[in-house]
Amino acid sequence: MDFANVKEVTYRVRRFDPDKDRAPHWEEYRIPYAPGMTVLDGLWLVKELHAPTLAWRSSCRMGVCGSCGMLINGSPRLGCNTQICELETTTVAVGPLPNFNIIKDLVPDLMPMLETHRQLLPFIVRDDHEEMEKPSGEFWQSPEELEHYLQFSYCIKCGCCMAACPTCATDPVYSGPMPLAQAHRYNSDSRDNGFTHRRQVLEGERGPWRCHFAGECSRVCPKGVDPAKAIQLMKRELVADYFKLREQRCPARLAETPKGVARREGIPEAPAPTVR
């Protein structure tokens, strides 16, 4: 569709106010269109011109914070990362992400997802507690080791994958693509030693076993994380572990401070560490 002459677009917005409404309903608004407008820009115009009480979550406006996941013309996407002209229609239907309870209008309750994420220990787990509490340096990691998890670390916790996942839609026990992919991200980090802790949860019903590998999560992920791939790799690792074939590794050691080298001229001192 050619957007060159488009001056107005219609927003169909799913509204729900828990204090007033018994069920969500759709409302329509006409707003002026300008080239380059994102779906999020349009929502601000709807709020300004027609519906001051309209609620949604957003912050960075540049696809970084993960706040503005919403259902746009039937697909879970980031409002700030979706140009209206990409939709190839002048009607923009915006609803809250499916598979989450609605707090208000376009605001989904992400807490269950984040709670599962927390239970899967999304941080480096090591036995050297002293070093973890009072870091004395950096852990050694090669570029190849970085590649094992780099793609999965781009996740911004927007929840789009959870909204697209057919298993999440019916099975409340399934942990879902985001928490599972993030568990795998840490399991495959050479600095981490938390596999046995995460395994307690992953081996059971809440693990990756009900994933059908239909790949919807990866298709909608705005950051190219490919959670479906992480989940299949996680299955492989857990099966290898069951047969005692998982490669045992010692978590990365501290990198030695280079000796006998001087700072090149013109390179400023690093800022003071923020963690003491």
Partner: protein
């Protein structure tokens, strides 16, 4: 309770067993023109000719492979069915009951099928 990691692993391995054994079945019963294993169809002609069926029925190889295939197929199918049912958002009690019913059903069918396979061996040898 056996954890999902183990059940899923055996589900996949059972799938492999089914693949191999069904492949064998296809070879023996349907692809005899392409790969003719003479010792399994000693009477010549079609694999389901009476003489061939009786000849194969007398070999211990068949009840053993049928039993393995039956076990693999029952486990693979019933575990798959359990997963489909569990995705319907069942309560904990219903889940437990479903697991027990499916396990008993699988066990029952396995025992019955094994008995039938070895009974057919005895029958064929008595002919």
């Amino acid at each position: 309770m056996i954890r999902d990691a183990k059940l899923w692993t055996w589900h996949v391995l059972a799938g492999l067993v089914i693949f191999v054994f069904l492949g064998l079945h296809m070879l023996i019963m349907h692809l005899d023109d392409v790969v003719n294993i003479a010792s399994l169809n000693p009477a010549g002609g079609h694999p389901i000719d009476w003489a061939n069926v009786v000849a194969r029925g007398k070999m211990i190889f068949f009840p053993v492979t049928y039993t393995v295939l039956l076990g693999a197929a029952l486990f693979h199918g019933l575990y798959g069915l359990k997963n489909i049912l569990f995705e319907l958002n069942l309560g904990d009690g219903v889940k437990r009951a479903t697991t027990v019913v499916l396990a008993l059903l699988g066990l029952g069918l396995f025992v019955y099928g094994t008995w039938a396979a070895f009974a057919s061996l005895a029958l064929a040898r008595s002919l």
